[in-house]
Amino acid sequence: MDVINALVAITNYVIIPATAYGAQLALGALGVTLVYSILRFSNFAQGDTMAFGTGVVILITWGFQAMGISFGPLPTALLALPFGIVITAALLLGTDRVVYRYYRVTRASPVVMVMVSVGVMFVMNALTRFLIGVDQINFDDGARFVINARQWREMTGLSEPLTLRSTQLITVITALIVMVALFWFLNRTRTGKSMRAFSDNEDLALLSGIDPQRVVTVTWIITGALATIAGTLYGLDKSFKAFTYFQILLPIFASAVVGGIGSPVGAVVGGFIISFSEVGLTYAWKKVATYLIPGWEPEGLVQLLSTDYKYAVSFTILILVLIFRPTGLFRGKVV
């Protein structure tokens, strides 16, 4: 019985939250990795793009709520998501036209592109704050739980509670749909394949008649969609705060690098590696230990790392990968 209780506790406090968080990181890392493979720079504005997209979604959600439109048991934000994606993608395309295109045409070095993306980050940062401010915002409505603690107890009779919040389930399902759609697009459609070709060998892609402007445009649209979805899911699951989205840049980069920057599969796997390490190392294992080792009551929390150091986990993994396998698990690009 205690073993089952221990498993329930692990599921409740580690597996479920880490899966949801991992899905959010994976979507963010996919955006970073796509920009990296097609435009060939690490996009420091990714976090703030996510924040901007989420801000737009929140405003539209409020609009819908004011008009009395709701999405039944699902959060209204999901209804607002397509609109947020369109606006964010439009912003990214505008940014590309005004800012990035010049550097692409002049073939600027990657580090200059990174610096340019820092400038874009500043601007987006300000735009997001103009739009929605700096405060913490909860915009989740609809049903709170798929399974709450009481239902669980009645269902199973176990003493250890398990809850599954609807936002967690929505996150995982949405992320799954998005990833399947993205991989289908990249591997099965002509445009998707042309993007992979462009990423593999730009000169040969040009020789084959692939239009670079079109590839870049599609890339930014997808990046906008991924950023908005990732940001909205993260905001629904936790809450929205502009600065948090800047900080999440580190785990997102770590996910992309661990998987192999430039490799979409790597970005997804990297996202889950980072999330499970982070949640696993910052979880207080006392309860699980008490269940598993009868007669032992640990003194402390049996927490390997205080939650304040969760970014240290991403960083340590990042450093280990840089030392031992700089191309990442899935052999990404090294330009």
Partner: protein
């Protein structure tokens, strides 16, 4: 008028010219080979024909049309196929996807062309689901040639197709190139292995310092004692 006629090409990348009045021409269904010492401008001449080098003088006509001002992409649409010397495949895409990308500008059904390429290079059919980057050097060259054939070009240009492959694979590749030429496709090719290349060549060009030194049939060049001594190592 030849099928391809690149006359008096002069130009280079920076201030200094690499080509000094270089002239190349290829007839329909003919194999033309460019040989010469290192730094003679062989690859540069090829790039100039394909529009990858700005020309200061001279002109390129193709199938009776002046294409001097066209971009490489436009020349592909006119019926030129180009196989670069290196980085000539999409390494993380499968063999079949490489061929599909070769046919990117085609809007009709190109499955027949893929079948033709597989007939020409049977090994590629076997490896169609494998990533091109995982193939051997010779197989990769086959993918590269196959990719260029996907637009059904009337002129195929090969920049050192046998660089870095074993002699057996080289013979095999040359056989395939002859087969392509027999199908009516003109071939313009730069080669380091001058002797073997001239053996299959209808026409040979010996370039030195960006200008034509000798121009003749492959056979005649091989027989010329001066060419043998200076360029073919005796």
């Amino acid at each position: 008028m030849s099928f391809l006629n690149a006359a008096d090409m002069t130009g280079g990348y920076g201030k200094a010219d690499i080509l000094h009045g270089c002239t190349l021409s290829v007839e329909k269904g003919e194999i033309a080979v460019i040989v010469g010492p290192n730094g003679a401008g062989k690859s540069t001449a090829m790039k100039a024909v394909f529009g990858m080098l700005p020309l200061r003088g001279g002109s390129v006509t193709f199938d009776g049309e002046d294409i001097t001002a066209l971009t490489p992409q436009q020349r592909v649409r006119k019926g030129m196929g180009f196989v670069p010397q290196v980085n000539n495949v999409f390494p993380t895409m499968t063999v079949e996807e490489n061929l599909e990308m070769g046919a990117f500008i085609r809007t009709d059904d190109f499955s027949h062309t893929i079948a033709q390429v597989y007939d020409l290079f049977p090994i590629l059919k076997e490896k169609r689901r494998q990533n091109a980057g995982e193939l051997s050097g010779g197989q990769r060259q086959q993918v590269a040639v196959g990719r260029a054939l996907m637009t059904r070009p009337s002129l195929l240009m090969l920049d050192e197709p046998t660089a870095g492959v074993s002699p057996i694979v080289m013979d095999e590749l040359f056989d395939r190139i002859i087969e392509v030429a027999r199908a009516g496709i003109s071939i313009l090719m730069v080669e380091q292995n001058a002797r073997q290349a001239l053996e299959i060549a209808d026409k040979g060009y010996v370039l030195v310092q960006g200008a034509n030194r000798y121009t003749d049939t492959g056979e005649a060049l091989l027989a010329d004692p001066e060419v043998r001594r200076t360029f073919l190592g005796g």
